[in-house]
Subunit: 156 residues, 2 copies
């Protein structure tokens, strides 16, 4: 196992902890963190329902916190870890924030905008492209979602 792989597993598990936090509040379990020089500078989990906020996706909250922490809208040397493939809004935010690298867990076949429906994070027409690693802790990230929706569908 390379050092990068070990680091990716470590930080993805931090994002998974945040996803579980979302689930405990009745939110779809997605978590994200931003890393700068091996330190966490931004954290977020999905809070759409509790905040009445369509923008309160894990990635956007983590990006905002990182920008505030680093006093810059450019997150040039940062890596964002997120348990699920980002949607168009979040993929666009990663490009806008000039994030260097994206690591995600499982794909989102219905709205994923990195691999599944669009390729926003490495489109040569846009003014920034990210390095992308997919499938880190894929099964654990997918199971969080599966179990959440299974629980939701249970008759009371």
């Amino acid at each position: 196992m390379t050092d990068e792989t070990k680091t990716d597993l470590y930080f993805m598990n931090e994002a998974i902890v945040l996803a579980k936090e979302a689930a405990s509040l009745g939110e779809i379990p997605i978590g994200a963190i931003v890393i700068f020089k091996e330190h966490i500078v931004g954290k977020g989990y999905n809070r759409r329902e509790i905040d009445f906020d369509p923008l309160a996706h894990a990635e956007l909250l983590a990006i905002k916190q990182a920008s505030q922490h680093l006093n810059s809208w450019r997150l040039l040397d940062c890596t964002l870890y997120v348990t699920v493939e980002p949607c168009p809004m979040c993929a666009g935010a990663l490009v806008n924030a000039r994030v260097k690298r994206l690591v995600f867990g499982c794909k989102d076949l219905k709205a994923g905008a990195v691999d599944s429906l669009f390729h926003i994070c490495n489109d040569p027409r846009l003014n920034h492209r990210l390095a992308i690693t997919a499938g880190v802790e894929e099964e654990a990230c997918a199971n969080l979602l599966k179990n959440f929706f299974k629980e939701l569908r249970k008759p009371n």
Copy 2:
């Protein structure tokens, strides 16, 4: 001139006022408003530099304010007016927020995600699509940008 055209011109000019506010602060002049039942429920102008925030685009600020005003992440019966074609992040946010209709001024050939590079706001694969009207006060909106960048490039 139809009533809808008159209304669109009226509200686009409100968005233009906000874009000018951005310019006066040294920000790229883009303004946006959200309308619900003919009232403005959200306003925003680009504040990326002054807020150190890559998410501080006019559209996202207007959407957030509207969601808080209406106590819901679903902006089902709302129209968003913006002076420039939304980028991927903002186009994705419009879909996520279930905004009913988008009216924009001029195109953004470098990053537009409604008509120019992507078609995020009316993609049949996503779970929401918006009605779209383009080109309202197109020249005025484009001139704001042109003049801003011309001014920036002037030797001191």
